[in-house]
Homo-oligomer: 191 residues x 2
């Protein structure tokens, strides 16, 4: 993990999240995210471990043009260096979501991910000249297609009920994450 350029999870480079662990706990309760979901997320991580290329291709088949538009360079076409640099962090994010403890480091890094999509820090990590922001509406619009991964979860040796719970845990974790990523987009005091 330490070998991924720009992946600063748990380091002193990551600022403290403006969200408290108490706020995180209340959010988890409202989303119905429990300790059991962490168990099922670990199973999601195992199930996806040898399928990340296929999963990424599937997602691109659903929302590739929008996704790629946010990697556009000055000539309007995707900046291949930017795409290549961001991709391993994207894959790592899947496994962090499945395997990390949702503690202060996790909370801080969710805020960092939000800043890197927002105009506050977009393009800085990879020092690229691209569009200034991933718009809020598309940050959220991809959540549904990114949550609908049941077929990928069902390819392993789990019961239907287990696959349902894995799918639910993944969906809740996505919702929780993107609520945190949204913080830089929201007007002061309204989050």
């Amino acid at each position: 993990m330490a070998d991924i350029p720009g992946y600063t999870y748990g380091t002193a480079e990551v600022a403290r999240s403006p969200v408290s662990l108490e706020d995180l706990e209340k959010l988890k309760q409202t989303i119905q995210f429990s300790e059991e979901d962490h168990e099922y997320l670990r199973m999601v991580g195992e199930a996806l471990s040898d399928q990340t290329d296929a999963l990424f291709e599937h997602w691109m088949s659903l929302f590739g043009p929008i996704f790629m538009s946010y990697f556009a360079g000055p000539d309007g076409t995707p900046d291949e260096r930017y795409l290549g640099a961001a991709h391993p962090r994207f894959v790592q994010w899947i496994f962090d979501t499945c395997n990390r403890t949702y503690d202060q480091d996790w909370l801080n890094y969710q805020h960092e991910i939000g800043l890197r999509h927002h105009r506050t820090k977009k393009n800085q990590t990879d020092n690229v000249d691209s569009v200034p922001i991933v718009h809020f509406r598309y940050l959220w619009a991809v959540v549904y297609p990114m949550s609908a991964i049941r077929p990928f979860l069902a390819r392993k040796d789990h019961s239907d009920e287990e696959v349902d719970k894995m799918h639910q845990a993944w969906t809740k974790a996505l919702m929780l994450s993107v609520i945190l990523w949204s913080h830089p987009y929201v007007k002061d005091g309204d989050w």
Copy 2:
């Protein structure tokens, strides 16, 4: 419908949404929301038509305290008049989501719903003295529990596959709606 106080859908009292129909169409595509989903939403509306009290009670069992906190009056307890006035609009929203055409009037009313949750217009419709805003994070945190209504959809005479598609259509419609409701919360140019 015309008898619900404060329900102004399709009237001249509702301002034009800042979101264009073209932007709506792109969002629907990204969320994978299609014409077929409207057919399944109509089935959702039929399935829920005699269950709205039970569904509301179920939702309150999941996130009642947070929900009620946004109806608090000056003494910190829920304002019963406010709750009573908002409830029929809440129920009507379920059926609008299921049965309305997602046209300019629908788009305008989603923005109006956003304004009424945001500090821009909260409390004005019912002329109440309550907390100034429904925070962004809880507007979104209730989306997961509000989407997880498969047991309610499965109580009617539909196949498992139909119930799945009804559930998916409802989930997509919720995501689409709350992206639109979020507009007043997001910094200028970032939505």
